[in-house]
């Protein structure tokens, strides 16, 4: 490290990106300081959510098996809602959870998980200070050399921004502008406590097993959707909305989410439970194309949500795994680079090597597909209308199915042509 520097690296933010980065750096013998604004790591963080374990296994083999996680996800579910009706799909593949291998994913609560992971980084030798907010970056001769927190100045060879989706540090470094409203969703979530065996009965799962459910058609046509994850003894129920859509429709995010709770297909799952927390967070929706053009400058790198590393395909949401990957990539760049100035370009190479950028690029087209407005209300409603006609029996002579579907497409304000266009768009983009 340089003469002035007190640390090899200062990491701003003790979430999964920051902790994974600190873990990897400390393991290689680097002097690392992690600065977290909350009392404990994770206390400002929110997920839907779930964690895909492969990322923890890259960080350290076996780590996912001691991690503070909730239930291994054994049931992947999609639920379409319209009015008081619903269709549910439940996908179960035992191969996702093969004996002798880490389960593919777990449900997770961030206040618990982040504190655990930051603790692992500390065990590796990283220094963690909590309750300190970094106010600014210190720049000298065009290079970021440290951070300012209140009156305190701290210096390092490299400063790594892991300060989340509202990355003020990346803004101060001049690498990003403030967030554009069309690139984010506002997510809200209630954690609802229920006895473990009640959860198991309601979701038809065994002890330790869990369900991850995406909800479509619960946003009144606004770009967004709901989610439900089973934790050990609670359920995370939430929804994400494009803020622009809320403002246009003059619908309150709070009100819409409270209505979702009472939906006749949702309520029985949470009935008798007790809400123990109400959380909210922004989530980046832009995917690959939302990644800032430059992820570094001299003496400065950005990782995790700060760098826009989130994937939303509509059926799965990934963020924590990508945050961990980016933290590892940044650490590898710092360890492998001859000096701090060379670390930036190397970081991008490491992001390629760890497959983060290729993964995000491969699913970039989903953004176009998810911008199709009618998939948020008319399509779920049509699917439900079709099911309704399949299952309705009154003794009348049923209409010919093909004719009936054409009629339903029309009554839902859709046309075959729109589906053809959506199909072409789908083929092109995904």
């Amino acid at each position: 490290m340089s003469e002035e520097a007190q640390f090899d690296a200062i990491i701003i933010g003790g979430g999964p990106a920051g902790a994974a980065c600190a873990y990897t750096l400390a393991k290689a013998g680097k002097e690392v300081l992690v600065i977290e604004r909350a009392d404990t790591p994770g206390a400002k963080n929110v997920t839907g959510g779930r964690l895909y374990t492969y990322a923890l296994e890259i960080l350290e083999e076996g780590l996912s098996q001691e991690a503070a996680l909730e239930r291994k996800v054994t049931h992947e579910q999609i639920m379409m809602l319209s009015g008081d009706r619903s269709i549910s799909v439940d996908y179960h593949n035992p191969a996702f959870n093969t004996a002798g291998q880490p389960p593919m994913s777990y449900t997770v609560l961030r206040a618990v998980f982040d504190e655990w992971l930051a603790g692992k980084a500390e065990e590796m030798g990283a220094m963690l200070v909590c309750g300190i907010m970094v106010d600014d970056l210190i720049e000298q001769d065009g290079k970021i050399v440290g951070v300012l927190a209140g009156e305190d100045e701290m210096y390092a060879d490299i400063v790594i921004a892991a300060d989340g989706v509202n990355s003020f540090m990346a803004q101060k470094a001049g690498l990003i502008a403030d967030i554009k409203q069309e690139t984010v969703g506002v997510g809200v979530k209630e954690v609802i406590e229920l006895p473990a065996d009640t959860i198991q009965q309601r979701f038809n799962i065994k002890e330790g097993e869990g369900a991850a459910r995406m909800l479509l058609g619960c946003t009144e046509g606004i770009h967004g959707g709901g989610f439900l994850y089973t934790n050990k003894d609670s359920i995370s129920l939430g929804a994400v909305f494009m803020p622009e859509g809320l403002a246009d429709k003059k619908k309150s995010v709070h009100e819409m989410f409270q209505e979702l709770k009472m939906h006749p297909s949702i309520y029985p799952l949470i009935e008798g439970g007790e809400t123990v927390e109400y959380a909210a967070h922004l989530v980046s929706e832009a995917g690959f194309r939302g990644i800032p053009q430059k992820l570094y400058r001299d003496g400065f790198l950005m990782i995790g949500d700060a760098a826009g590393f989130v994937i939303n395909t509509g059926y799965s949401i990934r963020g924590i795994d990508l945050a961990i990957l980016s933290g590892i990539a940044a650490a590898r760049a710092v360890i492998g680079a001859e000096n701090a100035a060379a670390a930036g370009a190397r970081y991008v190479t490491e992001l390629e090597n760890i497959k983060l950028l290729p993964i995000m690029k491969a699913v970039d087209g989903y953004f176009d597909l998810l911008e199709t407005p009618f998939i948020y209300d008319k399509v779920p409603n049509l699917a439900i209308d079709v099911f309704d006609s399949l299952f309705t029996v009154h003794g009348d002579v049923p209409e010919k199915m093909s004719k009936n579907i054409m009629k339903l497409i029309k009554t839902n304000g859709l046309s075959i042509w729109q589906f053809i266009k959506l199909g072409i768009k789908g083929v092109r983009s995904i």
Binding site: R37, A38, D39, G42, A43, K44, N45, V46, T47, L109, R110, A111, V112, D114, C130, G131, I132, M133, A149, V165, N166, F168, D178, I179, K180, Q181, V184, V186, G187, V188, V191, I192, S234, S236, P243, L246, A247, K249, K250, S252, V253, H254, F257, Q258, E259, K261, M262, Y267, I270, E271, G273, E274, T275, V276, E277, Y278, A279, A280, H281, L282
Partner: protein, 100 residues
């Protein structure tokens, strides 16, 4: 306790907060807000901290903020933004998620 629709204030009572009584981390300029026609902040705040008062002016209280940042993102720039300050609360202050 059973599940029911809850008002934002009741939901907030479930959370752990350490409100900074000295420094407001978000400040609005009501004269700018008065010129904003859309007022998207009324709809996007998960805890409905932005309200219209009797005179049709925006009223806002930073206590109870979940620090999501959505209001800042949607705040229309009509010459300047009505939200004139948006920073995170000082270290240790603000919301403390116990589950997250």
């Amino acid at each position: 306790m059973s599940i029911e629709k809850m008002e934002a204030a009741e939901l907030l009572s479930k959370n752990k907060f350490n409100v900074d009584e000295e420094i407001a981390h978000i400040e609005i300029d009501k004269t700018i807000c008065a010129q904003c026609r859309e007022k998207p902040c009324l709809y996007v705040c998960p805890v409905v901290l932005y309200k219209l008062d009797k005179n049709g002016d925006i009223s806002f209280d930073y206590a109870g903020c979940l620090e999501c940042g959505t209001c800042r993102v949607v705040c229309h720039d009509i010459g300047s933004k009505g939200i004139v300050k948006w920073v995170y609360p000082r270290g240790t202050f603000g919301v403390n998620f116990r589950y997250g």
